[in-house]
C-alpha cells in the first residue's frame, strides 16, 4: 500500500514533468512554425511587390524610349515583354496568394488587378502597332507611364502593408511566447503544488507512524504499558508493525502485571518474615542508606534514642566491614555488643552480611542484631554455677583427701590389707576428682575471665623456662627429657597475661609429656614466624593425633577416642580460649618425622 502510494506520488510528478516539457516543446515548435510561415508570406509579398516594380522598370526601359521617337519600321520585338509579362503575372498571383484578408489589403489588391490589366493593355496597343501617330504614341507613352506610376504606387502600398504585417507578426510572436511562458509557469506551479501535496501525504503515511512508534516506545520504556496505537488503514505496511507493537505492549502489560504481583507477594512475604524475626534487622543500600527496617529494629532504635538510624557501635563495625569489604558473622556470644536500655543490659551480636546483585547495581548490607542477652546470662550462670559448685565440692574434697592421706600414712593405726586397698582406691578417685574439679575451675575461669586479661610485656623465654622447670621432675620420672631451644637470641617481649600464658604452656607441655613414650624427648622451641608473633612449639615423639580427631581437639570436652590417659578434655579448649583472648593463635602442625607439634603464637609487645 505504502509502496503504491510512493509509486503514484512519484508517477504524478514524473508525468507532470513530462507534460510540462512536452507542452513547452510543442508550443515552441508551433510558434516557430507560424512565425516561419508568416515570415515567408511577408517576404514573398514584399519580394513580389519589389519584383513587380523591377519588371515594369525593365519593360519600360526596353520599350518606352521607342515611343518617344517615330514609329519603327519593323514591328518591335515582344519576346522580352512576353517573358517579363509572364513573370509579372506570376508575381501578381503571388501577391494574391500571400495577401491578407484585411480591408486595406483587399482594397489594394482589387485596385491592383485593373492597373495590371491597363498596363498590359497599353503594351498590347503598342505591340499591335495601333499607335502610329505621334499623338497616339505620346498618349500611349503617357498612358503607360501613368499605369506604371499607379502600379508603382500600389506595389509601394503592398510593400508597406507587407512590412506592417511583418512587424505585427513579430509582435504577435512576442505575445504568443508571453502566453506560452504563462502556461508553462502555471504548469510548473501546478506541479509544485501537487509535489507539496504528495510530500504531506507521504509524511502523513510514512513519517508520522514511525514518529508515533518512536514516542510510544519511549513511553513504554518509561513504564507506561497502557497505551495502544491506533490501527492504520488496511493494507499499510505499518499495520503489521503497529499490531506487533500493540501485542508487545499488551504482553509487557501482562508480564508487568505478573511481576508486579510476584513483587507484591515477595514484599508481603519479606515483610512478614522481617516482622516475624524478633531480632532487629536493618537493610542498607550502598548509596541509599537504610532501605528496610523491621519492627524490632524500630523499637530498638527508638529505645536507644536513635530512631531510624544505626546505633553508633553497629555503624562503627559496619564501617570496618565496608573498609574490608567482607561479612561480619561472629558466632561467639562474647563478641556481642552491650546496649543499655531502661537501666537494663542487653547484648546484641551483630551479624553483618554483604549482598550484591549480579550487575552490582543493587548492593548493600544486611544487619541482624541477634539478642544474646539470655544466652550470655545463661552462659554466665553456667560459668558461675560451675565455679561455685566446683569450689563447694573441692573444699570438702580437700578434707577427704587429707583424711585418706592420713589413713594411708598409718601413723597411729595400721590398716589391714583390705582396708589399705580400699583407702588407696578411694584416694585415687579423690585425686582424679580433684584434677577434674581443677580443670572445670580453669574452664570457668577461661570463660568468665577470658576478656579480662591483664596483658603486660613479658619475656616469652622466661615463661617457657618456668614451665620447663615445673615439669622437669614429672618428665624425669618417666625418663623424658625436656629441651628448651630458641631460634635466635634477643627476641622481643610479647604482650600477654603471664598467668594465663603459663596455663596454656603448662597444658601443652603436660599433654606432650603425657603422650610421650618413656625415655622420650620433648622440645620447647621459641621462634618468630613473622613480625607480629612469637611462637612456642611443643614437640613430642608420641603417637600423634588421629586425623579424624584433629579438627575437634580444641572443642570443649572432646577427647580423642582410645585414650588411656586421664583428662576431661578441656585443656586444649581452655588454651584456645586463652589464646583467642590474647589475639594469638594455637594450632597443631602437620605431623612430620614422627613428631607431634603444637604451637602457640603470641603477639609481640
Amino acid at each position: 500500500m505504502l509502496r503504491l502510494r510512493l509509486f503514484y506520488g512519484l508517477l504524478t510528478i514524473v508525468l507532470l514533468l513530462w507534460s510540462v516539457g512536452a507542452a513547452a516543446l510543442l508550443l515552441m515548435q508551433d510558434s516557430i512554425r507560424r512565425a516561419d510561415h508568416q515570415l515567408k508570406m511577408d517576404y514573398q509579398v514584399i519580394d513580389a511587390a519589389q519584383s513587380v516594380r523591377t519588371f515594369t522598370a525593365t519593360i519600360n526601359t526596353s520599350y518606352l524610349p521607342a515611343l518617344a521617337g517615330p514609329p519603327p519600321i519593323l514591328a518591335p520585338d515582344r519576346a522580352l515583354y512576353d517573358s517579363t509579362r509572364a513573370l509579372l503575372e506570376e508575381k501578381q498571383r503571388t501577391i494574391h496568394m500571400t495577401a491578407s484578408n484585411g480591408p486595406r489589403w483587399q482594397n489594394v489588391i482589387t485596385r491592383l488587378d485593373p492597373v495590371f490589366a491597363s498596363y498590359f493593355e497599353g503594351y498590347e496597343t503598342y505591340f499591335n502597332g495601333d499607335a502610329v501617330t505621334r499623338v497616339q504614341r505620346e498618349d500611349l507613352l503617357r498612358f503607360t507611364s501613368t499605369q506604371t506610376q499607379r502600379l508603382t504606387d500600389l506595389t509601394e502600398n503592398i510593400m508597406t502593408l507587407g512590412e506592417e504585417r511583418l512587424f505585427s507578426g513579430a509582435k504577435k510572436l512576442g505575445d504568443d511566447s508571453g502566453k506560452n511562458f504563462l502556461f508553462v509557469v502555471t504548469l510548473v506551479l501546478l506541479g509544485t503544488f501537487i509535489a507539496v501535496i504528495i510530500y504531506f501525504q507521504l509524511v502523513r503515511h510514512l513519517v508520522d507512524p514511525v514518529a508515533t512508534l518512536e514516542r510510544s516506545i519511549d513511553e513504554i520504556r518509561k513504564g507506561n504499558f497502557e497505551l495502544t496505537l491506533s490501527q492504520p488503514s488496511v493494507g499499510s505496511e505499518f499495520s503489521k508493525v503497529i499490531s506487533a507493537f500493540n501485542d508487545m505492549a499488551l504482553e509487557l502489560k501482562i508480564r508487568r502485571g505478573e511481576s508486579d504481583e510476584n513483587l507484591l507477594r515477595a514484599n508481603l512475604v519479606n515483610a512478614a518474615i522481617l516482622e516475624a524475626i524478633p531480632s532487629p534487622v536493618f537493610v542498607l543500600g550502598d548509596k541509599s542508606g537504610i532501605i528496610q527496617i523491621n519492627p524490632a529494629a524500630e523499637a530498638l532504635t527508638e529505645k536507644l534514642g536513635v530512631s531510624g538510624r544505626l546505633p553508633l557501635k553497629i555503624q562503627n563495625i559496619l564501617d570496618e566491614c565496608k573498609e574490608a569489604s567482607c561479612h561480619f558473622l561472629p558466632e561467639d556470644p562474647r563478641e556481642a555488643l552491650l546496649f543499655r536500655i531502661d537501666e537494663e543490659e542487653y547484648y546484641y551480636l551483630p551479624r553483618i552480611f554483604r549482598y550484591d546483585s549480579e550487575d552490582f547495581l543493587h548492593s548493600g548490607w544486611a544487619i541482624l542484631l541477634h539478642n544474646v542477652s539470655r544466652i550470655r546470662w545463661l552462659d554466665d550462670m553456667k560459668t558461675n554455677l560451675l565455679s561455685t559448685v566446683s569450689h563447694e565440692i573441692k573444699t570438702p574434697l580437700t578434707g577427704i583427701r587429707m583424711v585418706l592421706h592420713l589413713l594411708l600414712e598409718e601413723r597411729t593405726t595400721k590398716l589391714d590389707e583390705m582396708q589399705r586397698v580400699m583407702v588407696t582406691s578411694a584416694n585415687d578417685d579423690c585425686e582424679r576428682l580433684l584434677i577434674t574439679l581443677n580443670t572445670l575451675l580453669d574452664l570457668s575461669r577461661a570463660e568468665s575471665g577470658a576478656t579480662h586479661l591483664e596483658c603486660v610485656p613479658v619475656s616469652l623465654r622466661h615463661s617457657v623456662e618456668r614451665v620447663s622447670q615445673l615439669y622437669t621432675e614429672v618428665a624425669a620420672n618417666r625418663g623424658i627429657t625436656l629441651h628448651l631451644e630458641e631460634e635466635t637470641s634477643g627476641m622481643p617481649d610479647i604482650l600477654a597475661d603471664p598467668i594465663r600464658l603459663d596455663e596454656v604452656l603448662n597444658n601443652l607441655v603436660s599433654n606432650a609429656i603425657k603422650h610421650s613414650p618413656n625415655k622420650g624427648n620433648v622440645w620447647l622451641r621459641i621462634s618468630r614466624p613473622d613480625g607480629e608473633f612469637l611462637r612456642v612449639s611443643v614437640i613430642d615423639q608420641g603417637p600423634g593425633i588421629p586425623a579424624e580427631s584433629q579438627s575437634r581437639i580444641f572443642e570443649r570436652f572432646y577427647r580423642a577416642p582410645g585414650q588411656d590417659v586421664d583428662g576431661v578434655g578441656l585443656g586444649l579448649f581452655i588454651s584456645r580460649e586463652i589464646m583467642r583472648a590474647h589475639d594469638g593463635r594455637i594450632g597443631l602442625r602437620e605431623r612430620k618425622h614422627d613428631l607431634t607439634e603444637f604451637y602457640i603464637d603470641v603477639p609481640v609487645a
Partner: protein, 205 residues
C-alpha cells in the same frame, strides 16, 4: 588421744602449739591428726572470729589459716592480729589464693603459702620449715621476711647458691616489698605476685 576438730586442749609449755583455722570440719580434723604428735599440740577453730578469741587467750607458735571463711576471712584475721602487734607466724592455706590477698599477707609478714589440696607431709614440713628454719639461707631468709626484716631477708637469700627458681622469685618479691614500704606503691609487688604465685607457695623439702 582422741582429737576432735574443735579440740581446745590445755596448753603444754613443752609442746609446739599449732592453731588450725578452717571452716571445713574434715580438714580441721585432718590437719589436727596430721600435725598432732608428741611434740605438737593442735587446736582448731572453725571461724576467724573464734580464732582471734583463742589467740587472745592462748599463745600459739604457729597458725594455719584458711583464706576463705564465712564471717572473718584469713586476711581479716591477719589484719586484726598485726594491728594488735601479734607477730605470730601464720601460714596461709587456701585453694584459691588470689594475688591481692597474697600481697596484703606478704606486707603483713605472712610469707608462707600452702595451696590446697595439701598432703599431710607437706603440712608437717611447712610447720617445721617455719618453726625450725635451721641454718640454710633460704629458710633463714624467709624467717627474716616473716619478721618483716626485708633487708636481712634479701641478704640471706643472696647467700643461696645456686639461686633456685623459688628463691630468685622471692628475691624479686622482697625487693619490691622494700619498694612498696619506701614509696607506698604496691602495684609492682602485686604484679610480681600475680605472675609468680604458684612459685612463691611452699614446696616440700
Amino acid at each position: 588421744m582422741s582429737p576432735s576438730p574443735d579440740n581446745h586442749g590445755a596448753p603444754d609449755g613443752a609442746k609446739r602449739r599449732v592453731l588450725v583455722v578452717d571452716d571445713e570440719p574434715t580438714l580441721r580434723l585432718g590437719f589436727a591428726y596430721a600435725l598432732s604428735s608428741k611434740t605438737t599440740e593442735v587446736d582448731t577453730a572453725a571461724t576467724g572470729q573464734l580464732a582471734l578469741e583463742m589467740i587472745s587467750e592462748t599463745r600459739f607458735d604457729i597458725i594455719i589459716l584458711d583464706l576463705r571463711m564465712p564471717d572473718l576471712d584469713g586476711i581479716g584475721v591477719i589484719d586484726s592480729l598485726r594491728r594488735e602487734g601479734n607477730n605470730v607466724p601464720i601460714v596461709l592455706c587456701s585453694a584459691a589464693l588470689n594475688p591481692n590477698a597474697a600481697s596484703q599477707a606478704i606486707l603483713h609478714g605472712v610469707v608462707d603459702f600452702l595451696l590446697k589440696p595439701v598432703r599431710p607431709v607437706d603440712l608437717r614440713q611447712m610447720v617445721d620449715f617455719v618453726l625450725h628454719p635451721g641454718q640454710q639461707p633460704f629458710p633463714q631468709a624467709m624467717k627474716a621476711a616473716r619478721q618483716r626484716q626485708t633487708d636481712e631477708a634479701i641478704l640471706m637469700i643472696g647467700k643461696n647458691d645456686p639461686l633456685d627458681n623459688q628463691a630468685a622469685c622471692w628475691l624479686k618479691v622482697l625487693r619490691s616489698i622494700q619498694e612498696a614500704y619506701s614509696n607506698g606503691d604496691h602495684s609492682n609487688l602485686e604484679e610480681l605476685i600475680r605472675t609468680n604465685l604458684p612459685t612463691l607457695a611452699f614446696k616440700g623439702v
